[in-house]
């Protein structure tokens, strides 16, 4: 009868392996986590552990990052929306502020004596390149005849040309068909201011007249439309002409492209 080696008996092997593991455990725990066996096991299974760790990290941190990024994107979108809304409000506020300032200037502006003033909302400037017109809106119960003078906070704007319901088409002083009697505020030289599109030119002023750059021209009242003393513009260029008449260019006193409110003037006895 052949006798089996004790090491080949499963029970003996079981006891030996378990005892070995227990001894190893006791040794490792006494030495701490950085035991040689632990390092050996980590080295042997390193690649697998590395993949395991990567997968674990990818899942947890990746998901966290994904959710964080998604939340951040949602927040950014919301902030952008808020920003757009605030920007819109700011633009409205700026427009309101500008309008308030213009109204204040308009109220403070000197009014010609003997005239009633009526506010009108300036809507749009049009007619370029052929003419220069302004559409204004006024109270519907009021009626203004053609050639009613219109002024702004800084000076003359134009005259009523046509009425279309509550709207009035204003012929601006810069329109080439506009002519206004003017005089120099400094020297009293008289002339006629004609529209040139963006600027005005003063005609019928002799070469001997005293006109300098920077002089202010105001309405003279000779045209029978504008009352005297309303600012028309400032001289930007002046030179003597070959026909004994000066070439005078005025920059309009009113910022015609930037008007929000204007005043229509009506004679008090009308």
């Amino acid at each position: 009868m052949s006798r089996r080696s004790p090491i080949r008996r499963p029970e003996v092997l079981l006891v030996l392996l378990m005892a070995g593991y227990l001894v190893l455990l006791g040794w490792q725990v006494r030495r701490g986590t950085q035991s040689a066996l632990s390092s050996l096991a980590l080295g042997a299974f390193g690649p697998f552990l590395s993949i395991y760790d990567s997968a674990n990290r990818l899942t947890r941190e990746g998901l966290q990052d994904y959710f964080w990024q998604r939340d951040a994107a949602v927040k950014a979108e919301r902030l952008e929306e808020d920003n757009r809304e605030l920007q819109g409000r700011l633009e409205i506020s700026q427009a309101l502020e500008k309008e308030v300032l213009q109204l204040r200037e308009l109220i403070k502006a000197p009014k010609p004596a003997g005239y009633q003033v009526f506010g009108a909302r300036a809507l749009t400037e049009f007619g370029v390149p052929f003419g220069r017109y302004l559409l204004v809106s006024c109270r519907s119960d009021l009626s203004f005849p053609d050639r009613t003078p219109v002024i702004g906070p800084q000076g003359a704007v134009g005259r009523v040309q046509t009425r279309i319901g509550p709207l009035y088409r204003i012929l601006l002083v810069t329109d080439p068909s506009s002519a206004v009697g003017v005089m120099s505020d400094r020297s009293g030289v008289h002339g006629v201011a004609v529209g040139e599109g963006r600027s005005l030119s003063v005609r019928w002023v002799s070469n001997e007249a005293d006109v300098k750059a920077g002089d202010l021209f105001v309405t003279s009242g000779e045209d029978g439309i504008f009352p005297p003393g309303i600012r028309m513009g400032t001289v930007t260029e002046v030179s003597d002409g070959p026909d004994y008449l000066k070439r005078i260019t005025l920059s309009p006193a009113s910022r015609l492209g930037d008007l929000m409110w204007v005043l229509l003037l009506r004679k008090s006895n009308a």
Partner: protein, 160 residues
Amino acid sequence: MRKRFIASLLLLLMAVAVQTLLPLVSGGLTIANPFLALLTVLALRGGKLSGLLWGAFLGALCDAYFLPYVGFHGTAFTLLGYLLGWIGSKVMLQGVIPLAFFGWASYIVDAGLVALLYLLLGLPLAAPFLVPVLLGSLATGLMAAGFELAARKLFPEERP
């Protein structure tokens, strides 16, 4: 014999792959133990000696994966491999449901033994303990059933 070894090796690689890829599916599934599921399948087929040798090896592998010390799962798996091998040599198992049961029970025994060793060596146990053990045992039981299905494909000579 050679075919059996290769088949066992393939199952081992499958267990490593499952253990590695589990976190990709869900972080919560890492409480499952595919090595123990594999031990259940191999030990029930191979007998006492094969079971305890596989248990010693898979236990060491499991320790390397999960714990700072080598030996906790090693001891428990060695004992479990022997017991499962003994059971496998005594009873005839049919279907995959018994494997799921043995996988579930093995997880409970393994967790109990490891916890006992922890306490004997004066190491603190992480809390909560019971709920993860129960969930992990269920997942391991299902894995054991899955490994059994794979083993049936890989061990053609054992087909009825």
